[in-house]
């Protein structure tokens, strides 16, 4: 087994924290939590499409 320490932060780790963590404040223009959840669902398809380097597989939306 190996322990890997990444220098460049992976986008998924970043989004794990920036979209799921942090203080949620309902500002005048702040995204609603439901919006963010939707974004996360869309991201599933979006990021996997980038990883696979193929057109967005919208049919695979979970």
């Amino acid at each position: 087994m190996t322990v890997v320490e990444r220098r460049e932060i992976a986008l998924v780790d970043l989004l794990d924290r920036l979209l799921a963590g942090g203080v949620v404040i309902t500002g005048d223009l702040t995204l609603r939590i439901a919006d963010v959840d939707l974004v996360r669902i869309d991201l599933n398809a979006l990021i996997s499409s980038v990883n696979k380097q193929v057109p967005a597989p919208w049919g695979e939306l979970e």
Partner: protein
């Protein structure tokens, strides 16, 4: 062009200076907006990109989202170097400084409590993966069909049993390893959060994510914590441990839930007060 205010974090006044060339979301330099004994770290963002509609649309654009997330994180990182910031969720936008001040006024007690709780602490992310090869074997076993043609029904059942047994053993091993690791690390941390495992296609990481945990650790004990993660290098073939951090305590800001309840309660009280104050008027009328 009208500028909106993007809020990164709330913190206490700090001594060190932020890098002069530091830029945040949308390339603008962050500025400090003091409110009583707290500071909101904000920057100006264009309304055409950050008003509610455009922001929602942009979030579906991965490149835009990645750039914005990195801009946000850049500011939080810079703050983490000089103080302990309370990070806000991505996309917290107000119309102007006074909107930010109203928010600060309403929440300052909760902010102070969270800042006190998190002072001098950082977050470390630890993930355990079942290696790609091992995970592949597990997937193959999961797929409910024989890999080689079975000569008979009995053969088929035997093959299936063996595969599901090795699959099960591998998961058991991974789970046992993860819970041992988690036990060790949570013993060295003040608090922890277990996040849902990352989707392998989303993370692009080889292997399957078994553990996705965050630990709240005092800065002073961080070195020991990292060493403890490092020591897990003993023989656990097929497993990989990934360490990220130090992060600002994104996963430990949950005080907001209580604060929101509190706010709701306040709203409720206000509503009642309003109702009460309206009653006499009605009587008068």
């Amino acid at each position: 062009m009208t500028g909106l205010r993007y809020v990164y974090a709330v913190c206490r006044p700090f001594g060190g200076a932020l890098k002069a060339q530091l830029t945040g979301v949308a390339g603008a330099p962050p500025k400090l907006l003091p409110h009583h004994d707290l500071i909101a770290v904000v920057s100006e963002v264009p309304e055409r990109d950050f008003a509610e509609g455009p922001l929602k649309a942009h979030l579906e654009d991965l490149d835009w989202l990645a750039a914005t997330a990195r801009g946000h994180q850049g500011v939080i990182d810079a703050l983490t170097a000089v103080t302990t910031p309370l990070p806000l969720r991505l996309g917290t936008v107000f119309r102007d400084d006074s909107g930010v001040r109203v928010m600060m006024e309403a929440r300052e007690d909760a902010f102070r409590r969270s800042l006190d709780r998190l002072e001098g602490r950082v977050e470390w992310g630890v993930k355990v993966y079942l290696d790609a090869e091992a995970a592949e074997a597990a997937r193959a076993a999961e797929a409910d069909r024989p890999q080689e043609r079975a000569a008979s029904g009995r053969d088929y059942l035997r093959q299936r049993r063996m595969r599901s047994r090795s699959h099960e053993e591998m998961w058991q091993k991974a789970e046992a390893f993860s819970s041992r690791l988690h036990e060790t690390l949570s013993g060295r941390a003040e608090d922890f959060r277990l996040h849902p495992p990352q989707n392998p296609t989303l993370s692009g990481s080889a292997g399957r994510n078994v553990l996705n945990a965050a630990y709240l650790v005092p800065r002073g004990s961080s070195e020991e914590f990292v060493e403890a993660v490092d020591r897990t290098k003993d023989d656990a073939p097929g497993l990989r441990v990934e360490l990220t951090g130090p992060w600002a305590a994104y996963s430990f800001t949950e005080e907001h839930e209580k604060a929101e309840e509190h706010e709701k309660a306040e709203e409720h009280e206000k509503a009642e007060e309003t109702a009460k104050s309206e009653e006499p008027e009605e009587e008068d009328a």
